[in-house]
């Protein structure tokens, strides 16, 4: 796994990002750098801003201040400091550089597994149908669903749908993959098959930022873990440090205690 040093050039650079929903401050000056090839896991109690942070990275949510850069380019606002929202067309182009996998899969119900993957490839990447189909089949093979290429989402199990969701995201060859609690909506026996896919992507060197409640997986697969509480980064470091039982961080300790009781 890649280095976790914070002075290597950052692929993703989140700097002092703040955001409020009305009077509720969901992100408080969050800063985080992610280097190419890193797998960064964001943990924390619900309502701590994890998902919102992830959704800001591909500008599904806007933010009030701070900046988020991918490869040096500001994601949602025009370059040049004026804090002018990018045009919808530019936003679409920027979002194509990040992939996202959702908690509730969000497959397009009218398209087959292959069709879901092909849509972005043909409409956004401009590939021909046959090229796109070949790429879709390649990725469906990678996630173990080559035989389900022509199935509709409704005909797939949750775990299968989520693996299509991952294939749809990575087929676009994004610079960063964002995973938003991708196993939370799955039956326990289906979690393993999805995490196995994520693990193999990590081994390929895919840069990932993931929000998860799977502590054991976070410990094994992450280069770094970020603990968020009350909209801010409360602790960050290698899994062994952050998940250590003897941490002095009070919020983190009580958060981990809940998981130790059930999972460790």
């Amino acid at each position: 796994m890649a280095t976790s040093s914070s002075d290597s050039p950052a692929l993703l650079d989140i700097a002092e990002v703040s955001k409020s929903f009305g009077s509720v401050e969901v992100l408080r000056s969050v800063s985080l750098k992610v280097a190419k090839g890193e797998v960064v896991t964001v943990i924390g109690p619900s309502g701590s801003g994890k998902t919102t942070l992830l959704r800001c990275v591909n500008f599904l949510e806007s933010y009030d201040s701070g900046s988020i850069r991918i490869d040096g380019r500001e994601v949602g606002f025009r370059d040049g400091g004026a804090r002018q929202r990018r045009s919808e067309h530019d936003l679409a182009a920027m979002r194509a550089e990040t992939g996202m996998v959702f908690q509730s899969f969000n497959l397009f119900p009218h398209l087959t597994a292959a069709g879901n993957i092909m849509l972005g490839l043909t409409k956004v990447r401009g590939k021909s149908k046959s090229e796109a189909r070949a790429i879709a089949e390649h990725w469906l093979g990678r996630v173990g669903l080559a035989h389900k290429a022509d199935s509709l989402p409704a005909e797939l199990s949750g775990g299968q749908q989520q693996r299509v969701g991952i294939a749809r995201a990575v087929a676009m060859e994004p610079k960063i993959l964002l995973l938003d609690e991708i196993t939370s909506a799955l039956d326990p026996e289906l979690v393993g098959e999805v995490l196995a896919v994520v693990r193999s992507l990590a081994e390929d060197g895919m840069t990932m930022v993931m929000v998860t409640h799977e502590m054991a997986f976070a410990r094994d697969a992450s280069s770094r873990i970020v603990f968020m509480a009350d909209g801010g980064v409360s602790a960050v470091g290698p899994p062994k440090e952050v998940l250590a039982a003897e941490t002095t961080n009070e919020r983190l300790r009580s958060f981990l205690a809940r998981f130790r009781a059930s999972q460790f």
Partner: protein, 221 residues
């Protein structure tokens, strides 16, 4: 009562009814085709527009929905040509009226369908880099179609029945054919029994066919 049913005169003039039925179907099909275009354009416009446009579209919908169809037919056929200098046949006038009428209902159908497209699907479309227009064409409309197809079928069938209103301006559709036979043979019970059966059978056949289309659309790939 010395009334005995005699259908012979009805069968002798059956071409009037058959031709009327075909015209009724034609009127319904053309009207809903135009109505779908009106409904789609206005619904898409509505959900992305500001308050003024929304107000204008809502006013159109409210006006049509609260005025009896027969009155709209009179207004367009007799009223409009006296105000502005246009000339059109009764049939054209009726199709225009029925298109505007179904359009108003379909704006509501499509609008609620568009609003029922799950947020997550739109997010997924954004996340792979689709532009707003691409999201509309490839994500929102296909999902909206699935949601609204049953309501669309129902609108079409009720529109087919509404074509009977065209008889008031002498468009020779099914009900007009029935009136013609009645006036010429005085077989009022027989002719309206036959015509009722024709509306019923056609309505059920349409319903059955449209349910097949819906099922095909749900599983099409």
């Amino acid at each position: 009562m010395g009334y005995t049913l005699n259908f012979n005169l009805i069968w002798r003039h059956f071409d009037k009814l058959w031709g009327g039925l075909l015209l009724s179907l034609e009127l319904a099909v053309i009207s809903i085709a135009i109505g779908i275009v009106i409904g789609l354009v206005l619904a898409v416009w509505y959900v992305s527009a500001g308050r003024v446009v929304r107000g204008v579209i809502a006013a159109y919908v409210e006006f049509i929905r609260n005025v009896p169809l027969i009155l709209l037919v009179y207004l367009v056929f007799y009223g409009l040509p006296t105000v502005i200098d246009v000339a059109y046949s009764a049939q054209t006038s009726f199709v225009a009226t029925l298109a505007l009428y179904s359009g108003a209902y379909l704006v509501e159908v499509f609008r609620s369908g568009l609003e029922a497209v799950p947020r997550g699907q739109i997010d997924a479309g954004k996340a792979i880099g689709l532009t707003p227009w691409q999201r509309l064409i490839h994500v929102r409309l296909p999902t909206m179609m699935r949601i609204t197809l049953p309501a669309l079928s129902n609108t079409f069938i009720s529109l087919f029945k509404d074509t009977s209103v065209a008889s008031v301006i002498s468009v020779p559709e099914l009900t007009y054919g029935a009136q013609w036979i009645n006036f010429n043979t005085f077989r009022i019970v027989e002719v309206y029994l036959v015509v009722t059966a024709m509306y019923l059978v056609t309505g059920y056949a349409l319903l059955f066919a449209l349910r097949l289309v819906e099922r095909w659309y749900r599983t099409a790939r």
